[in-house]
Symmetry: C2
Subunit: 346 residues, 2 copies
């Protein structure tokens, strides 16, 4: 489409700084004839302290009107753990049915990795985004007593698993290596594990060209550091996806460059794009945050909206910028944003 109507949620901490750079690069990459409209929303810790609200029904109605959402980061030590995560981030992912949580990992030339020998890393994790242990099911009895019992219920449905597995197979089919790995813990979590494994095997029959494998989540963390090149596309549950994508980010350049999309493939609700990192209150306001993860999230956003060539331009600019960093002094958040804006406009 020739216009983009974007909801922008800078959020807390470094969220503010990195989103500014994301928007800078977005403006620079868009052709003249694509009209960019942005509306900023003040969700996060400040609004919570001022009003007690995290995300109201009215907010959801407002957000719904946009083509997509760009999010910086939400979370602050002044708010009890879980309040903003459950009350905003997860609420939004669930309300907008963001069931495909897309997290690519690519180790770009020149980028530092904690792994020895600079392995080849180029895979994408398709993390389920609306089920599993993230549903908030469960509860507590006898809270605060020696007899307290707290439960967490992982909810998994054939409907929810099949749609994300199908999405992952389609992505694997479209990639040169055509390989899909299911990551779960089906030898212990046998109820959910059998559901995932059966659906995975059933859908696999429709994709004879896709090579499939199954790996337990614990073993997957080993392979991510000993042979990350073995992965092409990974599909996994919400919690396992949360865990392995942080590890994947760490080995492929760090969370400073890890992008993600919370995607509603049907388009019924706007999809949301955000860096994998959090609000990093310890370095907030100092111009130290790397905006690259947000800029790469903007690329995912553009691709989702059909602006493929602009998405690629951003990714190429980031590759070049990262290769260029080697041996140079660190730059500020806005210096990196400026450099990327110049590159994409070239």
């Amino acid at each position: 489409s020739r216009s983009i109507n974007l909801a922008v949620i800078p959020g807390d901490g470094i969220g503010q700084e990195v989103v500014a750079e994301g928007l800078k690069v977005l403006s620079a990459v868009l052709p003249q004839d694509v009209k960019l409209e942005t509306e900023e929303y003040d969700f996060g810790a400040q609004r919570y302290h001022a009003t007690g609200e995290t995300l109201t029904d009215a907010d959801l109605d407002d957000l719904k009107k946009h083509d997509a959402i760009l999010l910086g980061a939400i979370g602050d030590p002044s708010v009890p753990s879980g309040v903003l995560e459950r009350g905003f981030l997860l609420k939004l992912r669930f309300a907008f049915d963001h069931h495909v949580n897309l997290r690519p990992s690519k180790l770009l030339p020149g980028v530092a990795t904690p792994l020895a020998g600079q392995p080849e890393i180029d895979f994408v994790v398709v993390r389920e985004g609306t089920e599993g242990p993230y549903t908030g099911n469960g509860g507590t009895i006898r809270k605060g007593t020696p007899h307290e019992v707290a439960t967490e219920v992982s909810v998994n449905t054939a409907y929810g698993v099949e749609r994300v597995v199908r999405d992952a197979f389609a992505r694997a089919q479209a990639r040169p290596r055509k390989k899909l790995t299911l990551v779960h813990k089906n030898n212990v979590l046998t109820f959910a594990g059998h559901l995932w494994t059966n659906i995975f095997n059933k859908v696999a029959e429709e994709y004879p060209e896709v090579t499939t494998e199954y790996i337990h989540v614990d073993a997957a963390t080993i392979y991510l550091v000993t042979q990350p090149e073995r992965f092409d596309v990974i599909v996994t549950d919400n919690l396992f996806g949360d865990i392995i994508t942080d590890l994947a980010a760490a080995v492929s350049g760090g969370i400073g460059v890890a992008a993600s999309g919370n995607i509603n493939p049907s388009g019924e609700f706007p999809s949301m794009f955000e860096p994998v990192h959090g609000s990093a209150p310890d370095i907030a306001g100092q111009g130290k945050a790397d905006p690259t993860a947000t800029v790469l999230s903007v690329a995912l956003l553009l691709r989702h909206l059909g602006h493929e060539s602009e998405a690629t331009r951003i990714e190429d600019a980031v590759s070049a910028d990262l290769a260029d960093r080697v041996g140079k002094p660190a730059r500020s958040t806005s210096e990196i944003g400026d450099a990327l804006a110049v590159r994409v406009a070239d």
Copy 2:
């Protein structure tokens, strides 16, 4: 005590080979006056195929009579995923109340790690062993239909959490750095997360010398590869412990050297010691498996039974053997066992 009455469960695949070496080293390290009695049990895939049994009440009564259990590995591709894991391994851990699952990680000199720059790694994970998502609570409705729903219930009790947290604080207090990290996901799994966090903070008051920190499980995987030296003792839930200890093993020399103890601290039931690795059917019977993880598990077993100096002798022998490997051709399972037996007897 001057006698050890050991139950030995070689199990499947390489379990047979590595347990033989573990026993070899155990015999070699024990002083003349300590009487070692062993009884071998045939649990695993073969017995399951022959009898349909994994672990009966009579088996549990038999095992109960021993001072400790040495396990190789259980699991075979010929048995559906979950049958032996739930029916034997987890059943035993639960029946014998092995609530402290102890998994030390130490990167020894000369040992290869996938991490660049040979970081200092020396920490121990205290994984809860009888609760969390491992209880088998949950179920499936409408199995095999498009309307299937599968749940997994993580069960967490103040009783269960407090005892393992106390164990971890005591271990941290006894180590030079006196640092304890709680790993959980309390911003999403808020019911269980609050229980863990509150008990952790409460017990911390009794250990003013222990430095404490909290880290989300996803972030913990990052630190395990970017700054593993930050960890001293980690306490965590059953599933998170499963995941991060495989990663911990990978960065500190591989699962070829990762030992573990499933401990019942009260001594009401025998504790069980096992390598973290599985039965590795792909290399079984070829003399390729590294028995070091089993030998180190024997050291944990000896320490648990009060044979501290013998435990240390084994650990020193392993350190020396590993340092000695650098640049030399690979040895067979029994060659490594022989070399360790010679060293501990010195």
